[in-house]
């Protein structure tokens, strides 16, 4: 029997607000336990939630980005269950009236070829995160850290449109790219800023009915999504092929043992007894709120990739590498806008700029060489004023200290030699100094040409244009 899998993801996106969704406490990562938990986060008696308008704004920006339905009002509900790190005994979430309804996320095909894929989004709703149970800090006891309690989450639920573990991982990656481009999430997976649950079922190829599904929780990396789904699909196929039935259940992915296993019954509740939270009025989404959310909407990564390929002539690879990181894309766009050739700019950003950033252990948002300066540098290469090599030296110089480009070029003596007579004299001197190499080359060992070019470049201290030197040598020695 041939089986295919049907996969839908639920992705929890931690919104990058400065304060929590229902209180004024800070959301910064890594504070001392419970240092960022105010009476509202602690669930003390009598305190009340007040919704953070910025969380609403971010959710609306996401809704607009996926062309999702946005109803005129949304509502918060209470989801009731007991857990030590859930201070109120209920989580404030959205059940019946989510802020964002059906929409679409466009992603590149997994193998990089063919048309982009449109993945349906069922809904996206706002909710508060729970705290953390700390099991290893106190002997025989569990500690509770409520710093994370009340952190705003946008839970994005996809349609069951994904067919393979690879595609599911690619979708998770696309969501990661999207929420960072929208600047609504910092995307730090190892800090839990995005977490994913996967719903998966298998069915015989050719049937259209969905099989019984399981939900895998606790997936916080692209790799885990792919591996957990692979395992779970194999397990379900095994169950079916041996004549068994897949049970609807929630399973946990154990990354250390690389397997999924059923969650203990205690970690589940069948009935959350949702009802509208009477502490919060329904949120009316006004045209002003939508306008403000729209003002935060950048060019979407999928549109950016298409533009880089179609209009700027970049490769798919370069388009992805540049467009998928918002800061890199911003830097690249600004460089092109400042007049640089797009392909040159792309090479620079992906190559020397990236390497230099890496060497200095910083990121492109902090790059001391501005896009305008890089564009000027590229222009000087184009007009032959400096060589590519000299441009790298210049970039490093500008990294240390900004200044007038031409002034620095001259001060560092990096301007390319434009005087053909002087260059011809140097070429003649190099030929005179290396009679054996000249002889061998004339005998057909053309790779020696490179050596001679190098010698000329050395003699000019890198100021000559290597292409010009190359031509001059061939010309002088009479080789093709």
């Amino acid at each position: 029997m041939q089986f295919e899998s049907v996969i839908g993801l639920e992705i929890h996106v931690q919104l990058a607000t400065a304060s929590k969704i229902f209180s004024g406490a800070a959301t910064a990562y890594g504070a001392a336990p419970n240092a960022q938990a105010c009476p509202v986060d602690l669930g003390l008696p009598g305190v009340l939630p007040v919704v953070n308008r910025e969380a609403i704004r971010m959710a609306l920006t996401f809704g607009l980005a996926i062309d999702g339905e946005i109803a005129p009002t949304c509502r918060f509900d209470r989801k009731n269950y007991f857990y030590p790190d859930l201070p109120k005994g209920y989580q404030i979430s959205q059940f019946e009236q989510p802020i964002v309804g059906p929409g679409t996320v466009t992603m590149d095909p997994v193998d990089g070829a063919g048309e982009p894929r449109a993945i349906g989004i069922t809904r996206a709703h706002l909710e508060e995160d729970a705290g953390k149970s700390v099991h290893d800090a106190f002997a025989g006891r569990t500690g509770i850290d409520l710093n994370r309690a009340g952190t705003p989450l946008l839970e994005v639920v996809s349609d069951p449109d994904l067919r393979t573990p690879e595609e599911a991982a690619a979708f998770f990656r696309e969501m990661h790219v999207l929420v960072r481009a929208l600047r609504i999430c910092d995307g730090n997976l190892n800090e839990g800023s995005m977490r994913c649950d996967a719903n998966v079922s298998v069915r015989q190829v050719g049937t259209s009915e969905l099989g019984e599904r399981t939900e895998i929780k606790n997936l916080n990396s692209f790799r885990f999504v792919e591996r957990a789904l692979k395992h779970e699909i194999e397990r379900q196929v095994d169950v079916l092929e041996s004549g068994g039935r897949v049970e609807r259940e929630t399973r946990l992915y154990d990354a250390q043992r690389d397997e999924t296993r059923p969650m203990r019954g205690k970690e589940l509740s069948d009935d959350y007894r949702y009802f509208p939270d009477p502490d919060l009025l329904p949120v009316r989404i006004t045209p002003d709120m939508l306008d403000e959310a729209r003002a935060h909407l950048p060019e979407l990564p999928s549109a950016k990739r298409a533009r880089y390929v179609d209009e700027l002539g970049l490769s798919q690879y370069a388009a992805r590498a540049l467009a998928n990181d918002p800061d890199t894309a911003g830097y690249f766009d600004a460089t092109v806008e400042a007049g640089a050739d797009a392909r040159q700019a792309a090479n620079w950003v992906m190559d020397h700029v990236a390497a230099t950033l890496h060497r200095h252990d910083t990121d492109i948002a902090q790059c001391p060489v501005s896009p305008a300066r890089l564009a000027q540098l590229i222009a000087r290469i184009e007009d032959g004023a400096i060589s590519n090599t000299a441009a790298k030296t210049m970039f490093d110089a500008l990294w240390e200290e900004d200044g007038d480009i031409d002034g620095i070029i001259d001060a560092k003596g990096l301007r390319q030699m434009r005087d053909s007579d002087e260059l011809a004299r140097i070429v003649a001197r190099v030929i005179d100094k290396h009679p054996e190499q000249v002889r061998d080359m004339r005998a057909g060992q053309m790779k020696i040409l490179g050596f001679l070019v190098g010698q000329v470049m050395r003699a000019t201290r890198g100021k000559a244009d290597p292409r010009q030197v190359n031509a001059l040598l061939r010309d002088t020695l009479g080789v093709p």
Partner: protein, 491 residues
Amino acid sequence: MNGDESIAALRRGLLDRRYSAVELTERSLSRIDTANETLNCFITIDPDGALAAAAAADSRIARGEAGPLTGIPLAHKDVFCTRGIRTTCASRMLANFIAPYDATAVSRLAHAGAVCLGKTNMDEFAMGSSNETSWFGPARNPWDPGRAPGGSSGGSAAAVCAGLVPCATGTDTGGSIRQPAAFCGVTGLKPTYGRVSRYGMVAFASSLDQGGAFARDAEDVAALLQVMEGHDPLDSTSTTAEPTAFDGSGSMTIGLPGEYWDDLDADMGAVLDDATRELEAAGHTLKTVSLPHTTAAVPAYYVIASAEASANLSRYDGVRFGYRAESPDSIDDLYRRSRAEGFGAEVKRRILTGTYALSIGYYDAYYLQAQRVRRLIRQDFLDAFDDVDVIAAPVTPGVAFPLGAVTDPVAMYRQDVFTIPASLAGLPAMSLPCGLLDGLPAGLQLIGPHFEEGRVLELGAEYQRRTDWHRQRPHIIPLDTGGPGEVSNAV
């Protein structure tokens, strides 16, 4: 100063330096000291804090910076969080809980200069109509200590009735200000839902809970409301409406809901008829109105209030604060025993009722159905207010009953039959004394349209200018005939 002056009279006495705020506070403390053993209306008395606040009030007065309530003694129902003084909600669960914040109502009253003497007794988590569910034992009715002061705000009503404080805060979810006001013969107002911030009020049923006040008459209640009311950024459900306006009651049409009067005992009916005739004599027109969904109010209320309570009380889990069971052997054991030992029977009954009403398979039949009924009841009132300015009604079916007399929970719930409808509709409603039955006070309820507290209070004040039921006092603790600064019986 004899324990029965109005806020305005006390304020004059303070500003004229006939007595100091410290003297006023000492007098209140000594009355509490005398009476509390019998009445049990205070759970916590805070003499040090009160005297310090009174001293601060005296300096404010000396500097000519007196606020509207500077130096006026007051007590808070123990459902309002007070920074540094325990807030028990009359529950074992919170017997040692000290909030690190003041409720907004508390801080507004403090800012206006009121001197808080302590925290008053109540039904546990405001669930009850007799004060008997308090973990600290019931407060008692000053008219007859063998009888209930009403609930849930029984301690506040009893304290004002006995002249221990001139005024006190309360909260009303289904009648918890109005019923004790009626039982104790004092004036109590439940404002429009959203009028007074709920921030720092321990929640029972969030869509119904409303803070309000008890005092000797409608004018004093108005003085408190003007300080307590107004939008609070910490409570999304608090109103941004204009403050209460007092623009003269004029001649009004007063609606008498037929459904309420049909249900009334003859004795209580006669007292209420006298009261409404008095309103008519004052130049107002009486008109019978219909509130056809009244009989569905009590069941709908107990579904909605219990459903909300079941979630609101989930935070009492023994993990972070409040009562915690000894040596639990698992997290479930911690939950189970902390809640089993920390909550009383009535609280557990409501949590169970509410949990049931929200469960899969029952949600539509109970919770959603109750919400539909709530909308119909609200519409009943809105329709009635097309024809009348204010609705007059009884507060309770009878006068204060003996402690221990009502043992059936549903019979207890039916105590609130006349107060619950206005709660479900979110309307302002006041209880004022309107007669004595067998030597015990009876209450008249005046219900206004949303945010028309001013109309209700002015009509109440007019009634009280024409009658003296609100001046009737049980003499279990004799009022002083004089005090420091020599003020006589002004009333």
